[in-house]
Symmetry: none
Subunit: 200 residues, 4 copies
DNA sequence: CATGAATGAGTGTTCATTCAT
DNA sequence: GATGAATGAACACTCATTCAT
């Protein structure tokens, strides 16, 4: 009597594990977090873990893909007619809001340098490329609309926006830096970046 | 009749190990880099490694302290009479020059989130605090000289300078970002940060 | 639907490891016996070892506690009405019977001096104290019954009984000393201890 | 200009190392004591250690041989005419006096079970055999003189004397057992052993 | 589907020993 | 003779992963 697999419950389990992993990775880094700890946080047995993710690497890949998907969704959800520059600054605000979860900041800084592990590196690159392409497109649009400086190519500005966000995340992960309080300065800095130095 | 120990050779060995560690850490992260690999890169036996550093942790701490010391030296070496703002931008240039070694960039990003390992966390904090204090002091001086905006406290500006440098380092560690080519834009962005948005 | 864990099998594995450890410790001493050898004797992988005992120390502690428990059981099992002196000599016989396993003798002599390793030292002390208290009590009872000399305090006699048993165990561990053949002489010597020198 | 080796200084160095080793062995056991610690206690470099003893094993063997030699000397130094029984009890007193050094007791208990290490096992056996033969001879003499029971062979009595001394040493190594205070009881026990149970 | 006992390659670290100075 | 830097085999222990139940 093969009970039909319940995809809802399955997804719930996966999210439960992903959530535990976020905590563990943020605390000890990817290599430092053990599957045993993730299982303990998630309240499951190790067997269950490997039922849902064939390897530890695949778990991290899944988390990264989840993030990539969210990025895609954000830009896809753009209200038609919204000015491009506003979309850019909106994304910055969106990213900062994610960093309200202190684990997110830790996760980003900790996962950045995983160039070994080919699967993970690929997922990181995909995440990066997705955001970079989306930003590049909307920056180019803003340039055409005259909302953004044109002395730098759109791609380079996109990368520098990401640079600012990543730097901000890194500070958030440490102590003594209130993401909420500093967010306006981030928006200001991105604005200054998009405007460039005053002509004077 | 004890042979007089040769401190020069001892220091050379330490530097040899530190150099190998920089490579390994940048490649695989702290936890991912094995002492065995560091030894292989350095061309020494494992016993020699632990003869010079009692633990893997202590090696990282030594590297960090080396960096802290270099920061201190940089600010101590300031020519009397140099304008404060020029010192700040000079430091930015100095930091970027270090990132010409691609391992340095990888190292910085990879080592950021090591909050477990109390000794390492302490050394990271010390490194951070040293730079932050030095920048704060010179930023405050620049404010008094009217070279820098005064609507933000010196400490906050110091942190944001570090944010920009760290974000820059993170990009350098990845591909598709030429540190040398992007350096002027970093100086420009720091300048924008120090000036603030145009009064207009 | 967690399979109900089988405590029987778990206990069996533990005993299997303990048995292998007894052999290895008796052969090479505590420090000299490697976990690898214990695993080989027990026919298990190293992972399994540490699945059941978190450290090598904890294994020895478990063995010692097993012994302490057995001592407690022996004295608790005393038939009501048995004369105290008979209980004492019964215990001596019981101890000698254990020494029929040549590994037991080796184990005792080898484990005696482990004053480093705080956990082990504590377990040794607990084992010692349990036996000493049990013997002291029954010796005191025998003194009240007039079966044992009263010129020495019960505690001191208890210690000397243990001294004789330990000395006997030490001889058993070496060669040229048949525990079974020498047992009557041990009982005689304990008798002499309990009686003291003839009044004459 | 090969300076003639100074055998006095050489012997002093050896004794200095042996003394340090006694301390270290008593504290941590043979396997637990490192050559590095012995060197530290002795205040010498590791190179010097291996100048005087080619291996750690050879050091222990040397200590054991020192002890064997002392045993031999004790029995050789017997004043002509001394009654055999008095020699036996004199030896017991001599052994107890050695145990006044708390390291001696620890050393004896800790070194007992080293059946691996063929050289050490051989030295232990030699030490044992030397004492046993000496005791056997003097016990036999006492038996002929009618000072000692004759229902047991001299060799067996010799072994039991050693059993009592070793048991005593084991207690001394632990706490709560004052060698000096308990010595008379040891002499009494040996006396009772040599007399056997009263005919009554 | 869920479990946790079992695995063994791999990890950081130790230590007796060697040897150039 | 004396030193301590260098060595690498061996050690206790970890951990991602497998699989019988």
């Amino acid at each position: 009597m093969p009970r039909p697999i319940d995809p809802v419950r399955r997804r719930a389990r996966r999210l439960q594990i992903i959530d535990a992993a976020l905590t563990a990775f943020a605390l000890h880094g990817y290599a430092g977090a053990t599957t045993a700890e993730i299982c303990r946080i998630a309240g499951i047995g190790s067997g269950t873990f490997f039922h849902h993710f064939p390897t530890k690497d695949s778990l991290l890949v899944a988390i990264l893909e989840e993030g990539t998907e969210e990025t895609r969704r954000f830009f896809a959800a753009r209200e038609p007619g919204t000015p491009a520059r506003q979309v850019i600054l909106g994304y910055v605000g969106h990213a900062v809001a994610d960093l309200a979860d202190p684990r997110a900041a830790g996760f980003i800084t900790v996962v950045g340098g995983l160039t070994s592990h080919p699967d993970i590196a690929a997922a990181l690159r995909a995440d990066e490329d997705t955001l970079r392409a989306a930003l590049r497109e909307v920056v180019a649009e803003a340039q055409h609309a005259g909302e953004v400086r044109t002395d730098l190519p759109a791609d380079r500005l996109a990368v520098w926006i990401m640079l600012l966000i990543d730097g901000f995340a890194g500070r958030t992960a440490g102590g003594g830096f209130e993401a909420a309080a500093e967010a306006p300065l981030l928006v200001e800095q991105v604005g200054l970046l998009l405007d460039g130095p005053p002509a004077d």
